[in-house]
């Protein structure tokens, strides 16, 4: 059974049909790409998958469970975590606390235990710190653990967002243009990291990206979206050589 | 006019040696009740200056200090404590009931003699160390109802009162109680609050619809002036009956006094009174502060003279302790008989209440006429 199964997903804004009849099946452990021209509806699909927008029709199933129209929190608990096209970090928290916020639901003690500083508080906080540092190390952010998140340079902020999403221990990770604003070397490094995450955490990843080097480099399959509709879907290499995709999206 | 306060100095009199009495005063000098505190401060200041010129109390000069309490209980206690640090021996205060109730608990602890010029609520003089210069709320409310019934002024009465104000509410309640006894019918009792004290159309409309012949206004004159203006605009002309807070309406700057024509009120003091005492006071006050005194100023002025009278009766000396003075004054207060601006032959009971008869006046041709 596929980890993510989307059928006939659609949404309109006023008169604008932003996404129409979107379908996708992503297997466990896959690294899947979502590409398409600007305004094609990619980010909107992420928003539908994560409960930010409610679809007008369609079904979303995660690991066989119907999560359509569930609230954002429930969807996260069900196993989807994401990053945002416009970075959304907890700006005033430290880098470490950003990740620890992501650990919120997986490491638990009651508020009373926290207020009274009972032993469990210290035990769980210690575990959280260890886990968070472990994640930060993956993204080479451990040295900046105590910085305020907003003081990080852009590229590191993007990485931190991924670390935070991973901290929620998702089954499916959604990345919205993770390489935007990075130069080719930084992109290269990021590709390695994403690959590493896929392997190390046995993660299923769906990503949006305009950097074709990244897409062709790590995505196993892609879907191309155009004007809210699926233009092409399949194995990466084949799709990127599809003449339709070239005229609509890639150019040259 | 503006800017007429020539002096904001708090201390007056001479302060040579320690042979002076220290009298404190408290009341709101800022905030929206500042007008009352300022009047009390001025009245008290005027009296103490005169007393000092005339040789002081028991041969000792009097020093005084007035502290702002913003008409608030907590600030009132702060003001009281500030005065204590200054070594106050007696207190004229506080001006407003709410603050007075908090302060009197403190002064009771210290057994410090206190006379409030204008704190009208029952609890303002709850303890034996506290006396009152003005009428109490029950006195005013009850007497008003009795007066109206006795003179057959009206049968159906509407009341407009400030439900958020201790003074207004206190008078209203006692008025209502007594009205029942007197067979008067309260056809409408409409409240307002200090958050909505601009528009009185509804209250007046209800009074009118209920067919009230008289509207009783237990409130201060600033709000009453708006009510009178609105009633005129509505073409509604019942008899208006006020209480002592109404005094001052005629001297409200730029106020069209014709609006107050026919207004009746019970007041212990009237600037138009023809006795020499009042006239001298009014003149001296005008000279000093550039404005016409109201009843708060008169009560404060009297309070200072009451202290003088009682102090002389008790024979206290400035070097006595606060408690000694307190005990002596308490006793003396019940023994003196005082005649001042706000009444003649006033005596006090142990409960701190004065025996004062309110005088009913009516406004005719822009002046008070005794009835």
């Amino acid at each position: 059974m596929a980890l993510l199964e989307v059928k006939n997903l659609g949404i309109s804004f006023g008169g604008l049909r932003a996404v129409n009849a979107f379908e996708v099946k992503i297997e466990k452990g896959q690294l899947y790409g979502l590409i398409g021209p600007n305004g094609a509806g990619k980010t909107t699909i992420f928003n539908l998958l994560t409960g930010v927008y409610k679809p007008t029709e369609g079904i979303i199933k995660l690991d066989g469970v119907d999560i359509t129209r569930k609230k954002a929190i429930e969807i996260n608990k069900a196993g989807i975590a994401r990053t945002f096209q416009n970075i959304r970090l907890f700006k005033n928290l430290s880098v470490l606390d950003n990740v620890k916020a992501g650990l919120h639901n997986n490491y638990s003690y009651s508020t009373i235990e926290g207020l009274l500083r009972l032993p469990r508080y210290f035990k769980v906080e210690k575990e959280m710190n260890e886990k968070a540092m472990e994640l930060l190390k993956v993204f080479d952010l451990d040295k900046e653990a105590e910085y305020k998140a907003s003081n990080l340079p852009y590229g590191k902020q993007r990485k931190l967002e991924i670390a935070r999403a991973l901290a929620t221990n998702p089954k499916l990770l959604l990345l919205d243009e993770p390489a935007a604003g990075m130069n080719p070397n930084e992109t290269e490094e990021l590709m390695q990291t994403i690959k590493f995450v896929q392997k190390e955490f046995e993660m299923t990843i769906l990503l949006i990206e305009h950097d074709m080097k990244l897409v062709s480099g790590i995505c196993e399959e892609v879907t191309v979206l155009n004007f809210g509709e699926i233009l092409c879907q399949g194995e990466t290499k084949a799709v990127l050589n599809d003449p339709q995709v070239i005229t609509a999206y890639l150019g040259e | 006019g503006c800017g007429k306060k020539e002096s904001t100095k708090n201390e007056g009199g001479s302060s040579e040696g320690s042979a002076v009495f220290k009298i404190g005063g408290t009341g709101p000098l800022t905030g929206d009740a500042a007008i009352y505190g300022t009047a009390v401060k001025n009245g008290m200041e005027l009296a103490i200056k005169e007393i000092n010129e005339a040789g002081g109390i028991n041969g000792a000069q009097v020093e005084y200090k007035f502290e702002d309490d913003e008409a608030d209980a907590e600030k009132g206690v702060n003001a009281y404590n500030t005065l204590k640090d200054w070594k106050m021996q007696m207190l004229i205060g506080t001006t407003t009931s709410g603050a007075c109730e908090a302060v009197v608990a403190e002064s009771h602890n210290d057994n410090l003699f206190q006379i409030t010029p204008s704190g009208t609520s029952i609890n303002s003089v709850k303890y034996d160390n506290a006396f009152r210069m003005c009428f109490s709320d029950p006195a005013q409310g009850t007497v008003s109802a009795q007066y109206i019934a006795k003179n057959n002024l009206a049968k159906s009465i509407a009341v407009i009162y400030n439900s958020g104000d201790t003074y207004s509410n206190g008078i209203y309640e006692n008025f209502a109680k007594e009205a029942k006894n007197q067979g008067l019918e309260i056809v409408a009792a409409e409240a307002f609050t200090s958050e909505s004290n601009k528009d009185f159309s509804v209250q007046l409309q209800k009074a009118k619809d209920a067919g009230a012949e008289m509207v009783f206004l237990p409130m201060y004159y600033t709000e009453a002036s708006l009510i009178l203006a609105k009633a005129k605009e509505m073409g509604y002309a019942p008899t208006f009956f006020g209480c002592d807070g109404m005094d001052g309406i005629l001297t409200l700057e730029n106020f069209d006094t014709s609006l107050a024509e026919g207004l009746m009120l019970l007041t212990p003091f009237s600037v138009d009174a023809e006795d020499e005492k009042t006239q001298n006071f009014v003149k001296a006050y005008k000279d000093a502060y550039g404005e016409t005194p109201n009843q708060f100023a008169a009560d404060a002025y009297d309070s200072a003279y009451v202290i003088k009278a009682a102090a002389e009766k008790a024979g206290i000396k400035p070097d006595m302790s606060v408690t000694e003075i307190g005990d002596a004054m308490k006793k003396a207060m019940t023994e003196i008989e005082f005649t001042g601006l706000t009444g003649t032959g006033i005596t006090w009971g142990e409960d701190g209440e004065p025996t004062k008869e309110p005088i009913a006046v009516k406004i005719e041709n822009g002046a008070y006429v005794f009835m």
């Binding site: 906080e125 | 800022t30 204590k84």
Partner: protein, 355 residues
């Protein structure tokens, strides 16, 4: 963890300051070196400091502007004063005051949950106005409550005290706008300081725990917080109700310090709420220790300025404006930089810079 150590250290400095202040004042006061004015201000100071830190939980930590904090204080004050008046003489003073504290905190906390309904739907200035409205409603409604007691039990009215129909043994306990008179004077400076310390521990421990992190992440980015599974409803309500309960405790202190308690605009209206907000902003939004210091200074300032008589509130206003400008403007920033540079010789910079 270094991180944990750093915040813990900072927290203990705050506790230390509070305890030290308490000890110094207690020593001075038993030596008779404290004026009546300061002596009288001690309990209100504790109450204001508790109010400031509790409001900071909502404004600084949760990031919602609340203009109705005095309302919660009002609820705590009236609920507890009512209880104390009812039970005076039936139990030891200490026990009664303990129950009064619990009741005040619980009542205010309950109202904190009640206001949760709008809080969850509204944002920014729309929320601010609703909290303001809420505070005004509380004050207005308390002003029409009349409760009396006689041998037939409790009587209740929303009209006036006459309508209570008390018999000769009757006593009006809550008298509408005249409030509650004669509340036992149970508050002392030491109790106040103890409560302040407890409030501080609650708030600082909350901030540095799982729940606090959740609350702060909601402040920084609501959508991102939802996306990582943080329950907005739960934590917003938690912040509001804890903050309200602590404000209620401040109200209990306040009510049991003055013998007359009235829900006047001055003591429980929006002006008071704004006053508390001033403490929070001046002390630094989200900075708990700063709130304490600001509340302390700004409560004392007008009293210290009494010598200036009528100019005092004017000067207070000017000082307030100048402090804000000093804190936040470019010019003020430069001034601060200069001061910091002077200090730098003494101390190494605390924050690490991004390379």
């Amino acid at each position: 963890m270094r991180h944990l150590q750093k915040t813990t250290k900072s927290n203990f400095i705050t506790y230390g300051i509070v305890i030290l202040t308490a000890v110094i004042i207690q020593v001075l006061s038993s030596a008779g070196a404290i004026s009546s004015l300061i002596g009288g201000l001690l309990v209100p100071l504790c109450a204001y400091m508790i109010l400031a830190i509790s409001l900071n939980l909502v404004v600084g930590i949760l990031g919602d502007l609340s203009l109705g904090h005095a309302g919660f204080m009002c609820v705590g004050a009236f609920a507890s004063a009512f209880f104390s008046k009812m039970t005076v003489g039936t139990m030891p003073d200490g026990l009664r005051f303990f129950f009064a504290l619990l009741i005040g905190a619980a009542a205010a906390g309950l109202f904190g949950i009640l206001i949760g309904i709008p809080v969850l739907r509204l944002r920014g200035d729309y929320l601010a106005i609703v909290t303001l409205a809420f505070g005004e409603i509380i004050k207005n409604v308390i002003n029409v409550f009349f409760i009396g007691r006689d041998r037939n039990g409790l009587h209740f009215s929303m009209k006036d005290s006459v309508a209570l129909n008390l018999d000769s043994t009757g006593e009006v306990i809550v008298n509408g706008p005249q409030g509650i008179n004669g509340t036992p004077k149970d508050s002392t400076f030491l109790i106040g300081m103890l409560l302040l310390l407890i409030a501080l521990i609650i708030i600082l421990n909350l901030i540095n725990s799982r729940a606090g992190r959740a609350i702060m992440s909601i402040r920084d980015d609501r959508i991102a917080a939802e996306s990582i599974g943080i329950n907005i409803t739960k934590f917003k309500l938690m912040a509001f109700s804890i903050s309200a309960a602590l404000a209620g405790v401040a109200g209990v202190l306040y009510a049991h310090n003055l013998s007359s308690l009235v829900a006047s605009p001055k003591s429980f209206g929006y002006n008071m709420s704004i006053m508390i907000l001033v403490f929070v902003v001046l002390g630094g939004i989200g900075n708990i220790r700063g709130s304490l210091i600001a509340a302390f200074i700004l409560t004392l300032l007008p009293e210290m300025l009494r010598g200036l008589s009528n100019y005092r509130m004017l000067i207070y206003a000017i000082v307030l404006i100048l402090m804000m400008i000093f804190n936040w403007s470019k010019g003020g920033g430069r001034l601060k930089e200069m001061l910091a540079e002077r200090l730098r010789g003494l101390r190494k910079p605390r924050t690490k810079e991004v390379k």
